[in-house]
Amino acid sequence: MVFLLGPILLVVAIGFSSGDTVEFPPPGFSLRWFDQALSNASFQQGLLTSLLVAAGATLFALVLGIPVALAVQRHTFRGHKVVETLFLSPAIVPELVVGFALFQQLMVTMRITALGALLIGHTVLLLPYAVRVTGASLALSDPALEEAARGLGAGPLRTFFAITLPVMAPGIVSAAVLSFLTSFNNVPLSLLLKGPGISTLPVEMLNYVQFSYDPVVAAVSTLLLAATVGAALLTERLVGFNKVFSR
């Protein structure tokens, strides 16, 4: 456990260092790296891009994925195993390969912009999570509720919004948080899908680390860590962390 968490705590400590290069233990305590991190233009642009792509992709993945989860869980049809596997497949294929493929096909051949390609690529990447997690929450709920509503005369749309959606709410929140984080943190897929003024934060951080060796990255990492912990705690309050992982 120490092995797992140690390095992370280390990064946090360095973020607060007052030294000029990355070293441990740090010579002193200073907030100047945080200041630098927040005012760095490429990090700012990266953050904006990452937030935009993550939010957009999560939205699209849920909008497309929830119907699929509904179809698979509430309807039995021939080939439903195939469909399930199909929607899990983006998670199995190496991300770098997908990124490369999308770069070739979407950006080079079809001349779609980097932002568009990023959105499409991330949505595809998130689909398995959207389908699987919302599907799990559907599977745990009782279809009898919906049948009862239909029996009482509610139409399919009304049943969906009044019964199904609220029942799925924990699953949807979990899927949304998981998807958002997955998209935000992604490196391989986003690496090749770059354009003028468009690249995600992890990619920018990667570039920075390869050419400079100062604690700014540690400061950014600490900020991201804090944000992630915040999001996780929020989800726990809303939904219960265990539910996200029990399948």
Binding site: L5, P67, P94, V97, F100, A101
Partner: protein, 274 residues
């Protein structure tokens, strides 16, 4: 609306995106990358498979992945077991702590290793302080660094999947075996291990596939002296601009992952019926 129509409506948008944004680009790029002048991927693949450098990279990738998987098994499974046997109200917290790193970006998680293994890093300072040697050890940009970084990356995954199957095993079974006279070791081997195997197998497969396809960690910790398939692909695609070569490497990576997945499925099925 008829059942079939509803079904179609529910599935079509998702399937359409999968086809357009995933399946089609994937298949096309793998076999005929559009931007290449002479997209003869299979021919390129042939040349590559006889190139000793590429074979070396392939061997390294597999070697590292196997090592990482084994280390994760050795350290991850016991951790998962301990968590599963911990008092119920602690389990959530322990699990969250173990799994929490998965929520962070690979860049963040790998960066820490640069600090620990670098010339002025933690281990370096420690070794110099003990006086074992007076040259700072070259730990960065080695396979060791790769294995360490990747193990940290994937350990939570192994713990999670092992825990998942361990938590479903009734502790009463172990106690029953003990009550019937079996030693703790025997009870563990004959009761817990077989029942936990499916989850462990899933974990091992995921870790292996992840280690083979990992990119950020090999890039930062391996350097150009220790390429893996993933960084090789990146090199072809972004530096050499050899699209055909990149596609060939992508093909190798994908086949490797698919083969392992298929083999794991077969083993899993066999274990389930034995």
């Amino acid at each position: 609306m008829s059942r079939k129509a509803t079904l179609g409506l529910l599935l079509t948008p998702g399937l359409a995106l999968l086809a357009f944004g995933f399946a089609f680009p994937f298949v096309v790029t793998l076999f005929a990358p559009p931007a290449a002048d002479h997209p003869d991927v299979l021919g390129k693949l042939g040349t590559m498979l006889t190139d000793s450098y590429v074979l070396g990279v392939l061997a390294r990738t597999v070697r590292v992945a196997v090592t990482v998987t084994l280390v994760c098994l050795v350290f991850g499974f016991p951790t998962a077991y301990l968590i599963a046997r911990a008092p119920k109200n602690r389990q959530g917290l322990l699990l969250a702590l173990a799994v929490f790193p998965l929520l962070l970006s690979t860049v963040v998680r790998t960066f820490a290793w640069l600090v620990i293994l670098g010339r002025n890093g933690l281990i370096s300072d420690a070794v110099l302080a003990t006086g074992l040697t007076d040259r700072p050890p070259e730990l960065l940009y080695t396979e060791f660094a790769l294995v360490a970084g990747l193990t940290q990356l994937f350990m939570p995954l192994m713990i999670l999947t092992s825990y998942s199957s361990l938590s479903h095993i009734d502790p009463g079974l172990e106690d029953a075996a003990r009550g019937l006279g079996a030693s703790p070791g025997r009870a563990f081997r004959q009761i817990v291990l077989p029942l936990a195997l499916p989850g462990v197998l899933v974990g091992a497969t995921l870790v292996f596939a992840g280690a083979v396809t990992a990119f950020t960690t090999p890039l930062l910790l391996g350097g150009s002296r220790n390429r893996t398939l993933a960084t090789l692909l990146y090199d072809y695609a972004n530096v050499k601009l050899d699209w055909g070569g990149a596609s060939a490497v992508a093909l190798i990576m994908t086949v490797l992952v698919l083969v392992v997945g298929w083999a794991s499925g077969k083993i899993s099925a066999k274990v389930a019926t034995s």
